[in-house]
Amino acid sequence: MAMHGMRGLAIFISDVRNCQNKELERLRVDKELGNIRNRFKKEKGLTPYAKKKYVWKMLYIYMLGYDVDFGHMEAVSLISAPKYPEKQVGYIVTSCLLNENHDFLRLAINTVRNDIIGRNETSQCLALTLVGNIGGREFAESLAPDVQKLILSSSCRPLVRKKAALCLLRLFRKSPDVVNVDGWADRMAQLLDERDLGVLTASMSLLVSLVSNNHEAYWTCLPKCVKILERLARNQDVPQEYTYYGIPSPWLQVKTMRALQYFPTIEDPNSRRTLFEVLQHILMGTDVVKNVNKNNASHAVLFEALALVMHLDAEKEMLSQCVALLGKFIAVREPNIRYLGLENMARMLIVTDVQEIIKRHQAQIITSLKDPDISICRRALDLLYGMCDVTNAKDIVEELLQYLSSADFTMLEELSLKAAILAEKFAPDLSWYVDVILQLIEKAGDFISDDIWFRVVQFVTNNDDLQTYAAAKAKEYLDKPAVHEKMVKVCAYILGEYSHLLARRPGCTPKEIFSIIHEKLPTVRTTTIPILLSAYAKILIHTQPPDQVLRNQIWAVFTKYESCIDAEIQQRAVEYFALSRKGAALMDILAEMPKFPERQSSLIKKAEDAEGGTAEQSAIKLRAQQQPSNALVVTNQHPANRAPPPVSVGQLSLVKAPSMDDTEDHSIERAPSQENVNISKVDPQAPSADLLSDLLGPLAIEGPPGAAVQYEHNATPGLDSGPDASAIVPVAEETNTIQPIVNIAERFRALCFKDSGILYEDPYIQIGIKAEWRAHHGRLALFLGNKNTSPLISVQALILPPAHLKMELSSVPDTIPPRAQVQFPLEVVNLQPSRDVAVLDFSYKFGTNKVNIKLHLPALLNKFLQPISVSTEEFFPQWRSLAGPPLKLQEVVRGLRPMALTEMENLLHSFGLMISQGLDPNPNNLVASTIFCSEKTHGMLCLVRIETDPADRTQLRMTLASGDPTLTFELKEFIKEQLVSITTVTPAPPAAPPTPQILSSDPAALLAGLLS
């Protein structure tokens, strides 16, 4: 066997396998690690073979989940071994053990490059694969042209070219500017003429990534994709090796259809016709067969075809064909097909006009909700949530309630949240809403967030005609023997406020109500007791005429808690007791709670936030966002399915939306209400003609200066505390005798838009920084280099993080040895949007000089932005649904340095915003989008529109929209500050900061420079 001679490895593996328990395994592994470490250390002249053996052992140990923190050098050094087997091991193990930021990897760049441009195609393949898997920015910069050449080279065999294609994909992702769109689009199209299916498979992945970023540049590839799909779907000239159970490469078919979904439309009539014929062929020609593999493969293609049909503006007939197919799928027993049927049906909700057909399958979907397989339940839940509107809300919510008692506990939270939202959004009458929420609390109290019961209290408080009903219900629930604590809270609150409305009913005298509540007191935790005390105080004032016995009972309770250790309870007990002795004055002090101001449902927001999180890292974020639950963006999908728009009157009111097929007037029938109860009926279809007016309206720069600026400044906490970003200089320079030799402000500014470079330098020390950002996390490494021949002592580094960042700095050594560089990592978590800047307080001693510097750290808002492209179809609904302040803010910015539109585009791009070309019909305007990541907002979509005035380039109007008011404000201010500061601070655009030395961004080179 090929384990030839690697007996040591086989023995080790079998030793580990024979270990009786984890403890013994660890001992064996530790022994081996010690052994390997010794060998590497002591025997300088290890043969490549021996190295190979040890390196495989390391990989095996690593796979078992043990940290292997040495020997990386040896793995990397094998890459330059002359013999193929060693080289191969070197490449493979290196790509498993190291990541792109590893310093050792940089050592290998030259070898890798030589292999790539060399003549030996097996080495070429290895090198391309390594770069394709872990190559970073530096690789992109030095290798992109070579790799691009290889892909198109006529002398290269397919086996090299396919790897080159995926290698380029990696380089493109790491550094999008390496692929020059002008030249590359034509070559990409040419590449799609390739006959070899391996090369095509790899090229298609490359294309998907490129078009997802900029579909316009690659429109010439569209007809080619259609041709490839046609070739495969009709099985023309497909070699046997690429046919899988009779299906011509299902993977390439899927990928090709995925690429097609990135083009907004297909204008060329020929391509369009051909494509629809092919899709029709797939839709009609996919039969269920016995062979599982064949069945899966053909259905993989079918589901992708369904997605493509939904994406294209297909004929109604074809769409109903799709719904019919999906309807069939959700009814089959085979779980995979059923799961996918549900998932795709939920996606289908985006397409207009099919909701009614989907509704016919409601019963079937509810059956799946009760499936023992949690994956299927989730899909069914999402679909039900998405298809819910006023016509079926009652049925669906009742099903959800029923399902609560048998559902898997991991689903309860999501399930109850969704039920609560649907009940609120589509309630036919408010008493039903109250019923639903109380049932939710009864059945899943542990999983009900406080928001849910706060919300029901708001509703009851604001609707007078609901109060009696709610109080009666509350009493009913509290009468039950075992009551969940949340139920005690909400019922005690409601009874405290409104139980007097029940006074004439049997069993509802204040005394009885009190004893019902008080019975629960011994069962609740201290956090609930204050609510009970308030309820008692309220009952007391509502008891007219005063009841001596009851009063004494309640006073006894207050007296008992006067010495309670919990401050909140104690305070309430003391105060209520004192107040209740004041007699008439108590009436005013403890009067009924006033109405709550109208506010957006925090539940809906919460659900949206939760969904945003799931899309965090997906390449196709928006698609993914719609995927887990269409329903969470219901406001964009369908007129009958939209959330009630906020009503400005100080009243919670229920909005009824007319359903699709029901034209009769749904005016709201409610009990006669008091004059100040506002009932509004909103016709959601009415504003549709005006949908784009906001975005496409005429340029209104001539508005009064700053007129649009004054939203909510004070409503958003912590905004004013941010340091003035235009003062980007060291926070304090104190009286250091040693002066920096670089312009710190300029350094900081440059680092705001790139991830590595020098932050500070003086004659003794150089501080470099290297950062990596992923969603709301950041990993920074600070490099401290001592430039001298004597040590730097009393080194101290402190991070002063702003409130929105969680930063953890590992300990910094007290001394930096002569000519040495130390590195220390810094973990950053972004909690919420803010423009505040973190400060590094750094000090050291050199001889008798003590130096203390405070430096801003480039962990700014824009580091948590991930550019994302948004298509017209996605943009407008989002833009529309974020209707106005505080979610959408507008401001006119003046006094700018005139800049060309392309320069502005580059600028926005450098902030992490993705420009959507042509989305705005006015060529003087820019529309851009990005995802902001923080712990609070998860991944949240932000939309930006900038309108410029060609006649006066010193001003522009900026509109920002996102689902979070703070985020909208902070991002707007951030962009404004950057636009303004560019006019005042640096002459050069920040995207291309002045580069000091060529190697400055490379800490390894930096170190090398120090030591020379």
């Binding site: 090929a2 593996i13 990541n99 391996g198 992945s205 899988y244 995979n336 994956s375 995927q627």
Partner: protein, 143 residues
């Protein structure tokens, strides 16, 4: 991104092969493997082959004592991945002849070579078994 990782795990939950296409620390890997293995191994034959975990999906398939788990983005075509697992198994079968857990365990390097030919940077590169296996044959000739 597409494929985020490929794991082969036996029914005792021991990892037999792990290939990640995004960088995770050892601790993160251990935690992730623990969580998803627990989730997937608890499922029965009547349940579907897809498990939603955090913000991605696991597509998995069981062969005798061995589970193949592939982590993919939420929008990946699930069935295509499911059959990709089978293609991987068939490729291993062609090489080892009736592949079993021990083959993968003791020929870790070959399993890696095959994967390396099939997936790169989370995307599928090659689906022809002959092409996938040719570098391994080349290496066997060389030694």
């Amino acid at each position: 991104m597409g494929i985020r990782f490929i794991l082969m795990v036996n029914k005792q939950g021991q990892t037999r092969l792990a290939q990640y296409y995004e960088w995770l620390t050892v601790e993160e890997r251990r935690a992730l493997e623990g969580e998803i293995v627990r989730k997937c191994l608890a499922r029965n034959e009547q349940q579907c082959s897809f498990v939603e975990h955090r913000n991605y999906k696991i597509v998995y398939r069981r062969y005798a004592s061995l589970f193949f788990l592939v982590g993919v983005d939420n929008d990946e075509n699930e069935l295509a991945i499911l059959e990709f697992i089978h293609l991987l198994v068939e490729t291993m079968d062609r090489h080892f002849g009736n592949v079993c857990e021990l083959d993968i365990m003791f020929h870790l390097e070959k399993a890696h070579f095959m994967l390396e030919e099939m997936v790169m940077n989370g995307s599928i590169v090659e689906t022809s078994k002959a092409n996938i296996l040719s570098p391994i044959q080349l290496m066997e000739k060389a030694t």
